[in-house]
């Protein structure tokens, strides 16, 4: 019996449906349902953008809760009907019914009553009455004791309740304060979260710009290196002040970059190929930066002078009209403590082809200004 599958080479409905769903997901960004999209659309983004408007509804939620009823003071005094003093208990025994309060006559009366007692017993038996009244008197005395104890207990309980009520009142006030603190914490956390995101974005932005600048610097350096032949003077390890001035812009950039990186022995060694130059650099660290004269530092070399030239340095950079580079003082002599000339760039190009940006600066600087101020980093 034939099976229900047709293998169409050109059309696969399942695959088409997968592609269609993929397209839908790409349009949506993710595979949300319509309900989820509606829910997302109703969220107000502004609430999260401005932390000042962020206020947790926790406090309102707490406040909307039914607060416990205030405690009423417990009193054993009923309004308008204060009970009077407790009556004195009456003692009753078998002789009480014969007693008399008439003094001496009372004794006679009591005697007569006792004599007539048998006659009285003809009418009724007074003993159970006497017994009941005597027992009732004992019970009354006992109840009085119990009431007294209960009264003391109630008084103590009342005092405890009053103290608990006072604690509740204090707790309610404290709760309000806690709610405020909680709300403030939520606001502050939200604000901090947003600040953190902002700072993260700023750091990323700065890092991106830094990376861009570095790549731009490398590109410019590589262009200059390709276009300019190696200057013989630089190749011999001599410093050309005019060269350094013409290439001031690039020099500054390289020095700034090199200051950010820690100078290790390895990087120093990389920057100085000969021991003399290395020693020169080492000696000049305390005074002023002296570039390695005899090497063409590759782009990104970390052995560049670690001192950033001050603005005065830049202004006093010798112009192309300065004396012949060969007559300039050697780096070794400069590092002996005298003010040094402007740092010499490690790259070679600007010595031959001054950059257009550097030319006006050299025109502003008077040619006879060999002595320069010491920058703050060099002091």
């Amino acid at each position: 019996m034939a099976e229900f599958n047709i293998q169409a080479d050109s059309v696969d409905v399942t695959r088409i449906m997968e592609q269609i769903r993929q397209r839908i997901r790409e349009k949506r960004g993710t595979d949300y349902t319509e309900q989820q999209i509606r829910e997302l659309a109703t969220v107000k983004v502004e609430r999260f953008l401005d932390p000042r408007h962020v206020r947790s509804d926790l406090v309102e939620h707490y406040r909307q809760l039914e607060p416990p009823a205030a405690l009423e003071p417990i009193s054993n005094k009923r309004a308008g009907r204060a009970p009077g003093p407790a009556p004195e208990p009456v003692e009753f025994d078998s002789h009480t019914i014969y007693m008399s309060s008439r003094g001496p006559m009372g004794k006679l009366i009591r005697l007569i009553r006792k004599l007539l007692n048998p006659i009285l017993r003809l009418f009724f038996n007074p003993d159970p009455v006497v017994l009941a009244l005597a027992r009732q008197g004992e019970i009354n005395a006992w109840m009085l004791q119990i009431l007294q104890q209960e009264s003391d207990l109630a008084e103590r309980v009342t005092k405890q309740f009053e103290r608990a009520g006072a604690k509740f009142v204090a707790r309610e006030e404290l709760d309000a304060l806690n709610f405020e603190v909680l709300n403030n914490l939520v606001v502050e956390m939200t604000r901090l979260s947003l600040d953190m995101k902002n700072h993260r974005m700023l750091v990323e932005s700065v890092a991106g710009r830094l990376d861009f600048d570095e790549r731009r610097a490398r590109a410019l350096e590589s262009v200059v290196q390709r276009r300019s032949p190696v200057s013989p003077a630089v190749a011999d390890g001599e410093v050309d002040e005019s060269t350094s001035s013409t290439g001031s812009g690039r020099t500054r950039r390289r020095r700034r970059r090199s200051r950010r990186r820690p100078q290790t022995a390895e990087t120093q060694g990389t920057g100085t190929d000969n021991a003399e130059a290395a020693g020169t650099v080492t000696q000049s660290e305390a005074t002023e930066p002296v570039p390695s004269p005899g090497t063409a530092t590759p782009p990104g070399d970390t052995a560049a002078p670690a001192v950033e030239p001050s603005p005065a340095d830049l202004q006093q950079t010798p112009s192309p009209d300065a004396p012949d580079p060969d007559s300039a003082p050697a780096p070794a002599s400069v590092s002996a403590g005298e003010p040094a000339p402007a740092p010499v760039p490690s790259i070679q190009g600007p010595s031959d082809v001054p950059s257009p940006a550097a030319a006006p600066a050299t025109e502003r600087v008077p040619p006879a200004a060999p002595k320069r101020d010491v920058g703050p980093d060099e002091q």
Partner: protein, 438 residues
């Protein structure tokens, strides 16, 4: 061989899915066997009112024996009992009461099967969920074949039908999804079954230009054929189409069928109402694709007709059967949301090469599986197989519980049972337990 086709309604002018299906099957099997149709006098599936005379008549050359319905359906009672068995824990007695309330209650038809069932070699019952099928299968179990026409509706979760799915001699399924559902709900994998479906009479040369000239419709056409009903997914279709047309005007949605819900007034929507078969096929041939928005279909003959005409189909992906048919045929796309509707519709309308390829696949799919020789052969093969089976191999009847057992409220709601059934298109043939005909 004498066959009885037992169906709830029957007539040349009845276009319901199962009824039309049964008529097609009866007329085509009549070429190979003696066929008699046993049905009721009702034509309205809402009331089951007796509108035709009981007795014997011929319909398109097929002898038809009609039996009266003993009582019409009480809509309120039926609704109440439906809620009871679909939504609440209930008893077998409640399910039987629901079945009587649903109808068409025709004890005389069941009595005829009990008295004269032996005169038929096999009885082919259509639509598992009606009174005639349930009780008819119970009295003619040894010769009963069932064409379930089941959908994913709560009635499938009722306990009483599981016994019938297990008790018939064979099941003629419409789709792999239907078979997976019935297997899952009744554990009837041992019952012989085959995915057959139904063929369709499609004209060899429809004239799309005739449709365009008659209606004046130009540009790309999207066509829907069927009852315009919310239950058929038409409300969602109108909503999606209006949203799509607001962004991509120029597409026309042609509606063919009687509306039972208001059709929105939109310049891109053209309701044509009931049309003749010739006009319907002209319109389908003129269309760029057929849309089938119904979430509940057991087969969708219109979809097969569109494929027979070489037209791609855009189906509701929430209908497992339609989704599975599209995947198996590689002749249609499907959607489950507006975004997918818009993307799939745009893909088909804008890509003529894809449209043509889908159409070619559809035609090949129809020719391979849904032409009448193929359908007839599947029926005849199944009957031959049953003939060859040794007597006594049929399943034993499962008696109903006793009086108290039938009233024990320990059955889960039908909807809950159906929701637990496996969903989605059935795995393609060859790769699953449903791949081969058992």
């Amino acid at each position: 061989m004498k066959l009885a086709v037992v169906v709830q309604r029957y007539g040349a002018d009845l276009n319901g899915g199962a009824e039309l299906h049964s008529r097609y099957v009866a007329e085509h099997l009549a070429r190979h066997a003696e066929v008699e149709v046993l049905t009721t006098c009702a034509t309205d599936y809402i009331t089951w009112r007796n509108e035709l005379k009981p007795g014997f008549e011929q319909v398109n050359g097929i002898p038809v024996r009609r039996f009266p319905v003993s009582r019409e359906r009480d809509a309120d009672d039926f609704g109440r009992r439906s809620t009871q068995v679909f939504e609440e824990p209930h008893s077998i007695a409640a399910e039987l009461a629901w079945l009587r309330s649903e109808g068409p209650t025709s004890p005389s038809l069941i009595h005829h099967l009990r008295r004269h069932g032996d005169t038929y070699d096999y009885c082919i019952f259509f639509s598992y969920r009606y009174y005639h099928a349930y009780h008819g299968i119970r009295v003619a179990r040894r010769r009963a074949l069932l064409v379930p026409t089941a959908e994913r509706d709560p009635a499938l979760g009722l306990r009483i039908f599981g016994e019938n799915f297990r008790g018939v001699r064979a099941l003629m399924y419409n789709s792999y999804e239907e078979r997976a559902l019935i297997n899952a709900v009744s554990n009837n994998e041992t019952v012989p079954g085959v995915v057959v479906g139904v063929g369709s009479e499609v004209p060899a040369r429809p004239e799309p230009q005739r449709f365009r000239q008659a209606t004046g419709i130009e540009g790309p056409v999207l066509i829907y054929v069927g009852r315009i009903d919310e239950n058929k997914g038409c409300r969602e279709l109108f909503d999606y189409f209006e949203r799509y047309a607001s962004r991509s005007p120029g597409l026309t949605l042609v509606l063919i069928g009687n509306p039972v819900m208001p059709v929105p007034t939109h310049p891109g929507i053209r309701p044509l109402g009931y049309v003749t078969d010739r006009e319907k096929f002209d319109a389908m041939a003129a269309a760029d694709l057929l849309i089938m928005p119904s979430p509940y279909e057991s087969l969708s003959m219109v979809t097969l007709e569109a494929w027979a005409l070489g037209r791609p189909v855009l189906a509701n992906g929430r209908c497992d059967v339609l989704c599975g048919q599209c995947i198996r045929s590689n002749a249609g796309l499907y959607y489950k949301s507006y975004e997918e509707f818009a993307e799939t519709l745009h893909t088909i309308v804008s890509n003529s090469a894809l449209r043509a390829a889908l159409g070619v696949n559809g035609r090949a799919y129809f020719d391979t599986h849904y032409t009448w020789p193929v359908i007839e052969r599947k029926y005849l093969d199944m009957l031959d197989r049953l003939d060859r089976e040794a007597p006594g191999q049929e399943n034993r009847p499962e008696p109903l519980p006793g009086w108290l057992g039938r009233r024990r409220r320990d059955l889960l709601p039908g909807r809950q049972v159906v929701e637990r059934l496996p969903a989605g298109p059935a795995p393609s043939a060859g790769g699953s337990q449903y791949s081969s005909d058992s």
